[in-house]
Amino acid sequence: MTDPLLTVDNLEVTFPGRTGVTRAVRNASFTLGRERLGVVGESGSGKTTMGRALLGLLPHSATVTAKTLSYAGRDLLACSERDWQQLRGRRMSMVMQDPKYSLNPVRTVGQQIGETCRLHLGSDRRDARRRTLAMLEAVQIRDPELVHDLHPHQLSGGMGQRVMIAMMLIAEPDLLIADEPTSALDVTVQNEVLRILDDLVRKRGMGLIMISHNLTMVSSFCDRVLIMYGGRIVEECAARDLGNARHPYTRALVAATPSLDVRRAELATVVRDPEWLA
């Protein structure tokens, strides 16, 4: 990892609330190269908020501070809305969890993907169509011509997720943040989608942040993993070493996950230590 794509040092995200501020992300620091980085944690651990902060996608009520937050040498904290528009989509993008809510229901697949080409690549209509069809084929949609003219409600979950990935990848970003990209999908479809992302990391040298609650998937797919708890990164380890993690929370999560390999009479439950939040 010579030059990190993304450097995050002491990232804090707070939201104002009725009873004072909520610190959704606290003192998060990590770097990302051209690799697969997993971010795991349970609901409310701050993993999605952190992902959105990296793309400047948080609502105005959120306060984002950091010692360093830079992408390819560029200070993201100093970005204006206009700067963001040039970065987002073109250089970095995010695949959202649920294609049902994230695609525009009244526009066809082709119109939505083509818009990215026209905005970021300056394509004309014919070129946008050509690129869109090629991209749909790249994400293994069997009949791109047909899908190009469909509306989102006519797609299955797996197809919708592939369309989202196609839309995010068509401008060839260097950094992709995938927020639970496969949790709405069946396991066999899930692995096909992972295969597509895997190819992109290996062939294009893209950096990928995979946000997920699924330990089995993250440990088998990613290179490194960050484990989040209560807004903090409590542990960072190589994905294959997740089974030998050191932090008690990580160990508890692993022990609480039913396994196909070992038969346990009872699953370990997570006993939370207030120390972890200190």
């Binding site: 349970e42 609901s43 895997d198 290996r202 089995t216 998937m217 039913p258 346990r264 699953l267």
Partner: protein, 251 residues
């Protein structure tokens, strides 16, 4: 305890017939926990609903506790089996307190000792007395699923049908609910059917597991055979391989 032979369910959607379940047969012994796994649209939940009489089905045999299940279930039939649904956010009435929710089955079935039994049911699933007069939105997802389980068990039914009881929950909460189900199964001698898309969850709790695909039962295997990969059909092998995680090409 439960005998299903040639069970079929057909839905009519937009003038077309969708054959959701086709000629499915299996038996569940008394005290057994039987698992059904499959991907979305495989018909696994529909099988469960057909057993509970929640959807119309046709079958050669559909017996519960040695008695043929009629199309119209009597009150006595209904208290034989109880259902726990997937979504603890949608399956509890938002404007009723936990007390109301747990009281209702007892009132319907004209049971005595309602107050004491509601209190006992709350303790049984690991909730606190303080939870009794709260509303569902004041509880966490795991606590709500405990309420749904308490409601299903309050009539002490011999059969419990579980439709993805933990898939809306975090791993740590899922572990608590699975442990709770394992404990209750022992203290009540329950016969249960657990439907899930998660092979690890089903293998953890069940003795025998049916694998379904596109409305048909592919095969029935023991949990140990599933763990060691002793399955006969290609689809079962695929599903098993996919459940073990992603296989990297460069590794």
């Amino acid at each position: 305890m439960i005998t299903v032979r040639d069970l079929s369910v057909t839905f009519e959607v937009g003038g077309r017939d969708i054959r959701a379940v086709q000629a499915v047969s299996f038996e569940v012994a008394r005290g057994e926990t039987f698992g059904i796994v499959g991907e979305s649209g495989s018909g696994k939940s529909t099988v469960l609903k057909a057993i509970a009489g929640l959807v119309r089905s046709t079958s050669a045999t559909l017996e519960v506790d040695g008695r043929a299940a009629a199309r119209r279930r009597s009150r006595a039939d209904r208290r034989m089996l109880q259902f726990v649904f997937q979504d603890p956010y949608g399956s509890l009435h938002p404007r009723k307190t936990i007390d109301d929710i747990l009281r209702e089955p007892l009132v319907i079935h004209r049971e005595p000792d309602i107050d004491a039994r509601v209190a006992a049911a709350i303790a049984d699933v690991g909730l606190l007395p303080a939870h009794r007069f709260r509303y569902p939105h004041q509880l966490s997802g795991g606590q709500r699923q405990r309420v749904a389980i308490a409601r299903a068990l309050i009539l002490s039914p011999p059969i419990l049908l579980l439709d993805e009881p933990t898939s809306a929950l975090d791993v740590s909460v899922q572990a608590e609910i699975l442990n709770l189900l394992a404990r209750l199964r022992q203290s009540y001698t329950l016969t249960s059917i657990l439907v899930s898309h998660d092979l690890a969850v089903v293998a953890h709790l069940c003795d025998r597991i049916a694998i379904m695909r596109m409305g048909r039962l592919v095969e029935i295997v023991s949990a140990d055979d599933l763990r060691t990969g002793r399955v006969t059909h290609d689809y079962s092998r695929q599903l098993l391989a996919a459940s073990r995680g992603f296989v990297r090409q460069d590794a």
